[in-house]
Symmetry: C2
Subunit: 391 residues, 2 copies
């Protein structure tokens, strides 16, 4: 007698989206989540753009991101309907701005590249940029408006996923998974049915590990996968408008300031998220230097940021991978190498390593895992991201 | 039948120090405090120096500060003994540093000035500064070491005062004073003996108003005093050393960076306080611009600050006055002008407006009010700060 059809390890946007879709597909689902705030999903900015500096030249990842951005609005609409909650989706698009001729040349390359893959991109001169965003720095030389880019409030999005999952019958167990095997999860209970601190075990037809960078710490995940995933720390700021100030931007604004990529993501409720550092560290300390640099860079792009309230500085650990791509698919049993081909043991599935694209990829990740759980095939954009590529 | 010999309005360092000393003098004392964290005492850095830019030329305030710094160590020793708690007193002194010839000239004037009033001051070249504080910026041109300056951990200091006051028999009532009269206080109860939200009244032989900038909002405080006190917002940062890093400074470090006075106050427990803005505002918002400027200025003085953890950003409202001096003494009855001479009605005493020197002046303020309560005379350094000067 199994405890559930599917057990999912990890309650971030990936695990929770999978849980919701698996339950909608008629499966009994148990989600095991540590129940802490240590989730990359909570620290993200929620910027959803298929193209960034990092995917120039990474054709497979670009194709996956394009598939993801196509899928996101319908998935999100269904989520809002199912949960009765708003995720704060914004469709104004991203305005990337430049401060010197080098930046402008980079924006020209970005524009060309977007056009070449069928995405919108409109080159704007300084005047047009400031007409669109009047609070941009006077030193803005020009920009590119990408109207297809989206953003959501990552925290509202996760909250909506939780509501929808619970409504669809997903049972959540608070606990820290310690090891997995095909059809089996062992965990230290946090609270709930099992006494806190006790070790417990659950069995299911399928176990899905969606534990972000923590996937690397779970025994029984094949070694090549554990070795491929690492935490990449990001520090991020949440600003708020004081009562007297109108919202200072309406588009996501990106800029390269002193060689660092900075983004400012506005929310309808007056929050403005500024991100993010990328540090090869696995702590969550908020450092003076990172907060300083983020504030300086944000104020360089939009000087009026100085008038905003610094509501929160937080740090998360993104699940980076050895080739920057996510890892999705069934794997062979504990201790062994990942399967070389696309076919592993469907009783143990990995869905991790989403790095900087966790929110964007969450919808298509849920679709792909739901397909695997119901005997189907993931979308072909997933093929290059099979665990078998890691040896 | 009176409720107490003395009722004190305000539970910051001024009110609590007075309460403790009045109880030691054999008086029954009730302290009325809102019980919130909105206290300038909690936001301060605890730097105790009798001389700063602001008192060049303010002879009366300088004399009072010199009296205060003389008195502080003995008062603090007695406090630590009575409370059994450490206040984190540090005696390494203050190192003021310079980055250009203009700064160096200012340091020469400071050195001369300190010598002229009998304080120590040692001019150091860049090499000597960095020998004393190896993490100072390479751009440091020179400095002045003021060995007589002190610092305490303002939060530990207030906690010790509370413990000592309670041990001496002071009764604390949680409530927000709304109006006072000679021998009478009305307040909205917060919790405790009186139901929360109810208005209550207490009577005593003496009422002492030590409510910081909030003194201006209490009915019955004479109008000239209410008009003289204003909130001056200060934002301040609390940094902490990560486990791996040795403490980066051992002296209080002051610098003028881009025309702004910045100070870094180290604590034995690894905290490093960076302050402070001075803003003519009465909110407590933490603003992006202020945090940025404080971090930038601190990193300019001591670049390794960038490696520290930003543990807290907080804002307080100092009680500024029209002439930058505190206000201490008895006043005439409610609604009337403050007494013109030094003798008011001893049933209503004001001890407020300590601006940036609240911690430093707390000991001598407590002495002075205790003298007034027992028929004595405050130290002569207080004479210029009688409420009668405000008309």
């Amino acid at each position: 007698m199994m405890d559930a059809d599917v057990i999912i390890v990890g309650g971030g946007v990936i695990g929770t989206a999978i849980a919701w879709r698996a339950a909608l597909a008629g499966r009994t689902v148990t989600l095991i989540d540590p129940g802490t705030d240590d989730k990359a999903s909570l620290v993200a900015a929620g910027m959803l753009g298929p193209v960034s500096e990092s995917v120039f030249g990474e054709q497979d990842l670009l194709a996956l991101n394009l598939h993801a951005i196509d899928r996101f609005p319908a998935f999100n609409a269904e989520l809002e309907a199912a949960s009765g909650q708003s995720t704060g989706l914004r469709t104004e698009g991203t305005l990337a701005v430049a401060y010197d001729s080098g930046d402008l040349a980079a924006l020209d390359r970005l524009t060309e590249f977007r056009h070449s893959i069928g995405l919108t991109a409109e080159r704007l001169d300084a005047r047009a940029c400031r007409k669109l965003e009047p609070f941009l720095a006077p030193s803005t030389r020009g920009g590119v408006l990408a109207t297809g880019d989206l953003s959501v409030d990552n925290r509202r999005y996760l909250a909506a996923l939780r509501t929808a999952a619970a409504a669809a019958g997903v049972r959540t167990v608070v606990g820290q998974a310690t090891d997995v095997a095909p059809g089996l999860v062992r965990f230290r209970a946090g609270s709930g049915d099992v006494a806190a601190g006790e070790r417990a075990e659950l069995s299911a037809a399928h176990v899905v590990v969606a534990a972000g960078w923590g996937t690397a710490r779970i025994e029984g995940v094949p070694d090549p996968i554990r070795k491929a995933i690492r935490p990449v720390k990001g520090q991020i700021l949440r600003l708020r408008h004081p009562g007297s100030l109108p919202h200072i931007i309406s588009h996501t604004v990106r800029a390269i300031v002193q060689g660092r990529d900075i983004y400012l993501v506005p929310r309808a409720d007056g929050e403005l998220v500024v991100g993010a550092t990328q540090e090869e560290r696995d702590d969550r300390d908020i450092t003076a230097g990172a907060v300083h640099d983020l504030l300086r860079d944000a104020m360089t792009a939009v000087p009026a940021v100085s008038e905003l309230i610094l509501a929160e500085a937080s740090a998360g650990r993104r699940p980076g991978t050895s080739d920057n791509g996510p890892i999705l698919g069934p794997v062979t049993a504990a201790g062994a190498a990942a399967s070389a081909g696309p076919i592993g043991d469907p009783r143990l599935i990995i869905a991790a390593g989403h790095f900087r694209n966790g929110i964007l990829l969450s919808a298509v990740t849920a679709d792909a895992v739901a397909a695997l759980l119901t005997g189907g095939e993931p979308h072909q954009a997933w093929t290059p991201f099979n665990p078998g590529r890691l040896t």
